[in-house]
Each structure stands twice: as structure tokens, then as C-alpha cells.
Amino acid sequence: MRRNHGLQRYLWIGWLYVLLALLPSMAMSQDTVSNDAFAQLLTGLKADDFEQKEAALRQLAQSHDPRVLDIFKALQEARLYFASGSGEFIYLNENTDPPSGVKVLSGEKLADLDPAAYDKVSVNNQLRSLLKELTASLNLQSPDRSLRLAAVNELVGEVTPEKLALFKQLLATESDAEIAEVLQVAIAIADLDGADTQAKIRALERLSTSLRPEAYNRIQSLLAGLPGQPDSAGLHAAATNALHSIDGRREKYRFIETTIFGLSLGSILLLIAIGLSITFGVMGVINMAHGELMMLGAYTTYLVQAALPNAIDYSLFIAIPLAFVVSGLVGVAIERGVIRFLYGRPLETLLATFGISLILQQIPRTFISAQNVTVQNPAWLSGSWVINPALSITYNRLFIFAFAMLVFFGLLAIMKKTSLGLQVRAVSQNRAMAKAMGVRTEWVDALTFGLGSGIAGIAGVALSQITNVGPNLGQGYIVDSFMVVVFGGVGNVWGMLVGSLSLGTVSKYMEPWSGAVLAKIVILVFIILFIQKRPRGLFPQKGRAAEA
């Protein structure tokens, strides 16, 4: 019974929405012109003279007929034709074979059209921009919120004195806060064209909190036109203040944006360095093939998408565990097959793993392609979150940050809460003692290496969402991630977090004034100098074993 009740309520709400949606259109239909008069207006479009066409378009826009928007759209897309004989207007669809059409006035469908019997209604650039403007004006009153918002956004900075009244009227009835704000800005910009100095100053005050480029440009041009005008001192001060205020706000948002860029770069570094750090920390092994394990993860994503082309949106959920397994198994194989024979000889390990990296790099070249492959973004990762005109964040940046944090805290939990973590920490602090206490160090080594490699694999999945996937994917990041390890301190997970995020953000802060390449060089030099002071990184590992 309760369930039924809920259903009823939904129905009611649905009804309310339908009514609400109908209301404005009912209101509009009151002053619509008659069908005949509308047809008469349309014939104006047949004129060869563009000025006559312009007049016809303006009249059509004022007719308040619901078909006008479709007609304008068809004109912009060059789909509006009229029969050479009867003069009847149709929308032509050339995509069907033979071409088909729809009658403009009656909506009647026509198949098997002979295009030769129809003339196109042509438009020039001037008419095209007029059409855009008229469409936006019509949409201003549309019941659809998103259409209305788009229309208002389109018209900001183009509000002529004639339209000012309409805008003010719209503002009075607008219930949506976001649209209302854009309307206010549009009105304020239009006010700057007026004669009333006080109104202008008020408008400037209003605009000083707007981040829209139109507002900024208009104030700048106002300021440029001021010298030579009488009594412009107050106006000048207000305009300068407004620009200052906008600059300040823009600066603030740019800073936030840079921070976010930096954090997302830092997250990538974190994902890469964290796996590197556990293998280095626990086994003292520099794994030069780490970047290639990451590349394997990225190619796993590619293969998953290739195998399931219809499920791109879900591909990441399959790719992440799969990449973990693939890279993790390859990692265990590397450890069992090569590295375990080289313990205590770190330099040789470095060279041997480098050899492995060369072989792994060659594998996709041989079996897939030497070129980069495209990995698609799921729909839920494309696009961006627009906070205001000065600040928008792409979803994949947010995703990578969240994902890196998830992996980081997941790993932290493994290290702190599981028996594997306990053993790993024991081995990394004092291998001999751990062994004496009954820890199977060989087994711990293999699992640790597998874990580190698996994390490299999922880092690869994340990376495939933001850069090109190719055989050289790993190489581009390996030096940077080693820098993170050296900077943060070997084997310290928190060191990795602080190290990667700070290196990421610092390099992004530097980029605007130094350029990306110079920023990288400066950071490398900084780290070389940094380890003078702290040879074991920010957070050195404690315990005697670390001294050896």
C-alpha cells in the first residue's frame, strides 16, 4: 500500500511539471498571428534582395509562431527550400536516398523529392549572425531553462537599447538565480551605453563582481573612450576599481585552477611513485621497468576497450582490476625470474630491470603497433565542471585526483592493517631480524613486488585517460617519479604523498612564468641541491637497516 501511495505522489508531481511547462506556451499563443498571415510572412524569404529577407526575418521573429525557431535553424543549416512552382516551403533532408522533405507549414512528410524542383533560401554572413541573434532572443522566453540560459549567455554584451526594456522585464520574472545573474550583467553592460552617469557607476559596481570576459572588455573600452569627455572623473574611478576588482578575482581563480592542475599532476606522480617506493623501500631494488609496468596497464585498458567496444562507459571498471592483475603477475615474474638472484647488488639490479624495460617496451611495438593507440574516455569522464566563467575543471582531472587518493589510502590500509603489511614493514626495517622471527622474506618480497607492480598497472589505467598511450608511455614519467621518491624519502608512504603533490603543484605554479621545460629543469636542480641537505629525503626511513 505504501508503495502505491508513493507512485501516486510521483504522478501528481509529474502532472504539475507538465502544467508548468505548458503555461508559458499558452501565454505566448495569445498573440500569435494566423496561419495565413504566417504563410504570407514566409514568402518574404523568397526575395533575392538580402535587405528584404532581413525585414522578413525580423517580422517572422515577431510573429510568436512556434514554427519560427525550426525555420531559423533550417536556414542556418541551409535546409530550407521552396518549390519553384507552387512556392511551398519545405525542409530538405539530403541524407536519405532519394532526398526527402517535410512541409514547413503543415508538417506533412514528403518522400522521393526531386531537388531540382526546389530552390534553396540562401543567406549571407550578415543574415546568419542576425539569425543567431534572433534565435537567441526567441529562446529568451523559452520555457526550457537550458535554452534560456544559453540564449542569455549568447546575448550578453549585445543588448541594444531597444532590447534593454525586454531584458529588464525578463529579469523581473526570472526565477532561476543563475539566469537572473547573467541577465543583470547583460543589463549592466547595456547601461554603460546610456547617458546617465550615475546609472553607469551603478552598473560598473554591479560588473565588478562579474567574471565574464564581455564585461571586462566593455569596461576596458569604456575606460579607453573616457579621456576628453567632461565630468568623467567619477566614472574613471569606478571603471578602474571595477577592473581591479575583476583582475583580483580572476587572479584568485587562476590560482585555484593552477593548484588543481598541480594536484592532478601530483596525483599522477603519486600513483607512479608509490609503487616504486614500496619496492625500493622494502627490497632496496630500483625497478627501472616500473614505467613499463604502467604502460602494460594502459595497454590493458586499450585491449579491454577493443574487446568491448559497446561498453566504453564501464571499461574502466574492468580495466582497473585487470591491469592490477596483469602488471602484478608480470612483476612477480620479474622478481622470481631475475631480481631475486641479484639481492644485495643494487647496481646490477638496476641494469637488469632496465633490460627488462627495453623488452617490455618492444612487446606492444611487435604485437600491437609502434604508433600510439587511442584509449577513449568514458562519457562520465569527458566534459568539465564549469564553476564560473573563469574557472572550470575537467572531470578527468578530478577523477585522477580522487583515484590517486583512493589508491593511496588503500595502500596505507594494507600496510597498517593487514598481516602482509606488517610483514612488509618488518622486512623493510630489518630483513635479517624479520627472517629470524619467522617471516618468509622471499614470499614477502615476491608479494611486495607484485603489489608495487600492480599499482603501477592501475596507474597506467589512470594515465591512459589523460595522455596518449604508446610504447614509450613509461619513459616519460620515470625520471620524475624517481625524483619524487628521492625527494619524499625512500619507503615512506606519507613522504610520497607530500613529495608528489608538492612537486606537482610547484611545477605548475612555475610554468606560467618560466615555461614547462624550464620549470622541470629548475625542479631537477632543486632536488639535486635538496639532497645535499637531506640525503635521505623529506621523511627518512628510521631504523638501523636504513643506514647501511
Binding site: I356, I521, L524
Partner: protein, 372 residues
């Protein structure tokens, strides 16, 4: 003590070294005669291309000796030796660029083509002096030496060792690569320095010049070998070996471990610079890709293949790996990286003493039999 006897002293107890020097001199003579004296259609004639290729290998061999000096004798694996090689190469390249003079595409006597192209009005200060061969010759050693001195001073003083040092040197060469890619640096950016015309007045296109460069590389290798022998057999060299085997003990005994390491490193960087300088006129170009970290790691594997027990082992490793690289990339280019990767793994796993180690192991029972 005459010079002759010093050399004899250096190689008296070095049987492998004697063989190496003998072979090297014989090769220099035979190859240059075969190219210059025999007619082009003779079976024994070596093309100028092959001579230049051999000259390139000899430069690599010198580079391998330079790395061996620090890695083999002092246990410091520097993975950025390619940087010193490239810096020496750039110093030579700058001299060669200045020799082009008015024969460049833009015909500017003062400025190299790429500077004219970038609309630069005058030569940057660090290009001054490079029109003189003697100045360039000094810089070829001094520039890598200074970099090694500054870097080594910082690194050794704070006791950065082992893999840390290897990684940091990787970062060093990587940073230099990025820097040299920039046009603003004034070293030709991406394209580097190329289109050389002549060296010391001899045309670089002439066969005789090519052979001359080949012989010069051989002599440089020979001298580099003798210098290294001299260093390791001196008291300085003994301390170096002591540092390799027991760093803390050497320090406690009272040796200034840092300065020993530092000077060895500087000498090694200078040798690498010379190798680079001889390499550039033979290949005809120097660009930032010489700095790429991969090159420096590959260099380490040459030394490892040869065997980290002897100086001539390093030479042998450089020659063997590069011969096979040329051979394989010519026939089956896709397989080369598999091959190189496999070399890395096999050598580190199964041949800790490299090719020379294998040879010595076979030679040892014979020697023992002979003694008995």
C-alpha cells in the same frame, strides 16, 4: 725515467693490456692503409664509411674506459656519463660551427645559421673564443670537468652513494637534455649543431680527414688507456680501490674519501668529453638526444658486458655491443631492443665479470697447468 720506460712500466704486468695495445695499433695501421693505399675495387679495401664507423666505436670505447674508471675502480655507477660525452661534443661542435664562417646558408661570417634564423644579432658570450682550435680543445676537457667538479662536490660531500647517485646522475643528464632542447640556450635547440665543413682547415668530406679522425680516436683511446693505467697503478689509484672495497674504513684511516672520488670523477668526465669531441666530426652532428638517459644506461651495459675487472674489458664490451647493434639494426631492427634487453639481463645474471671474465676463466686452468 724516460717516457718509454714509464709506458713499459704501466703495461709490464698487464698481459691483456699488452695484447690490447698491440691489436689497437695494428688495427689503426691496417685500416688506414687499406682505405688510403688500396684501390677501391680491391677485396681488402675498407670503405670510408666503414672507417668512420670504426672511428665511432673507438670513441665509444674511450667513453667506456671513462665510465670504467669510476665504476670499476671506485664502485660509483654514474648513469649520466653521456652528459659529459655530449658536452665535449658540443664544445667541438661549436668550434666546427665557427669554422663554417660565410659558407652557411645565410652567409653570415659571425653567426651560425640557426642564430641568424632566430634573428639573433650577436654571438652569445659563451660562444666567444670557439673560433680558435686551441680554445675549443681546452673547453672540451674543461667544461665536462667543471660540471663533474660542481656536481661531484655537491654529491660526494653529502655522501650520496649507490643507487641514489645513479638516479641523480640520470636526472642530471635528463635536465641537460631538456635544457639543450630549448632554442634560447643558443645551441641550436632541437636540431643541434650540424653542416660542418672542415676541421683545422681539412675538409670533413675528404677520405684522408676521415682516416685522420679515425687514427686520432685510436690514439686518444690509447692515451686514455695509459692514463687510466697510470692512475690506477699510482698511490692515488690504490686509495681509490680501498675506498671501493671499504669506504668507511678508508675514511677512518684518515683519507679524504670525498676528494679522491671527486678527482677521479673529474678526470673521467674529461675523458668522456674528449671521446665526445672526436665523435662529433665523424658523425657530423651533435644534438640534444645525445643527452638522453637511455644512452648513459646503455654505456653502463657496454662496460658490464666487457667485464668490470679490467680496463680493456670495457673497451671490448663497447666494441662488441656496438658491432652487434650495427649488425642487428641493419638486418632485423625490431629484434635489436629484445636483444639489448636480453644482454642486460644475461650479463648481470650470468656473467658478473663479463666477457673478460669468461676468457679468464678459460685461461686460468691453462696457466695453472703451465705453472705446474
Amino acid at each position: 725515467m724516460t717516457r718509454q720506460s714509464l709506458i713499459m712500466q704501466l703495461i709490464r704486468n698487464d698481459r691483456g693490456g699488452q695484447i690490447f695495445i698491440g691489436l689497437l695499433i695494428a688495427m689503426l695501421l691496417l685500416v688506414s692503409m687499406s682505405n688510403l693505399l688500396l684501390p677501391a675495387d680491391s677485396v681488402l679495401h675498407l670503405s670510408t664509411y666503414a672507417v668512420t664507423l670504426l672511428g665511432k666505436y673507438l670513441c665509444y670505447a674511450l667513453l667506456a674506459i671513462a665510465l670504467y674508471l669510476v665504476w670499476g675502480y671506485c664502485g660509483i655507477l654514474i648513469l649520466g656519463h653521456g652528459a659529459f660525452f655530449a658536452l665535449g661534443g658540443y664544445a667541438m661542435g661549436m668550434y666546427l660551427m665557427r669554422q663554417i664562417g660565410e659558407r652557411g646558408v645565410y652567409g653570415n661570417a659571425e653567426l651560425p645559421d640557426f642564430m641568424v634564423f632566430l634573428n639573433w644579432k650577436e654571438l652569445p658570450w659563451y660562444w666567444f673564443g670557439f673560433e680558435h682550435a686551441w680554445f675549443a680543445a681546452v673547453m672540451i676537457v674543461v667544461v665536462p670537468g667543471i660540471l663533474a667538479f660542481v656536481f661531484g662536490w655537491l654529491a660526494f660531500r653529502s655522501r650520496v652513494t649507490g643507487v641514489y647517485l645513479s638516479i641523480i646522475t640520470q636526472a642530471l643528464t635528463y635536465a641537460l637534455m631538456l635544457a639543450f632542447f630549448r632554442n634560447e640556450m643558443g645551441f641550436g635547440g632541437n636540431n643541434g649543431l650540424t653542416d660542418f665543413k672542415e676541421i683545422l682547415g681539412f675538409s670533413l668530406q675528404a677520405d684522408a680527414t676521415r682516416v685522420g679522425l679515425f687514427v686520432a680516436s685510436g690514439i686518444a683511446l690509447l692515451l686514455g688507456y695509459l692514463l687510466s693505467r697510470y692512475i690506477v697503478s699510482s698511490k692515488f689509484g690504490r686509495v681509490i680501490i680501498a675506498i671501493r672495497d671499504a669506504e668507511s674504513r678508508a675514511r677512518f684511516v684518515g683519507y679524504k674519501v670525498e676528494s679522491y672520488k671527486l678527482w677521479l670523477f673529474v678526470v673521467s668526465a674529461g675523458l668522456a668529453g674528449i671521446a665526445g669531441a672526436l665523435y662529433v666530426p665523424q658523425v657530423g652532428i651533435i644534438n640534444p638526444s645525445e643527452f638522453q638517459p637511455l644512452n648513459s644506461i646503455e654505456l653502463a651495459i657496454w662496460v658490464a658486458v666487457g667485464g668490470r675487472g679490467t680496463l680493456y674489458g670495457a673497451v671490448a664490451g663497447a666494441l662488441v655491443v656496438n658491432f652487434s647493434k650495427t649488425f642487428f639494426t641493419g638486418f632485423i631492427p625490431e629484434a635489436w631492443l629484445y636483444g639489448l634487453g636480453a644482454i642486460f639481463i644475461v650479463v648481470t645474471l650470468f656473467m658478473p665479470k663479463g666477457l673478460v671474465g669468461l676468457w679468464q676463466r678459460r685461461a686460468a686452468p691453462l696457466k695453472a697447468a703451465g705453472a705446474a
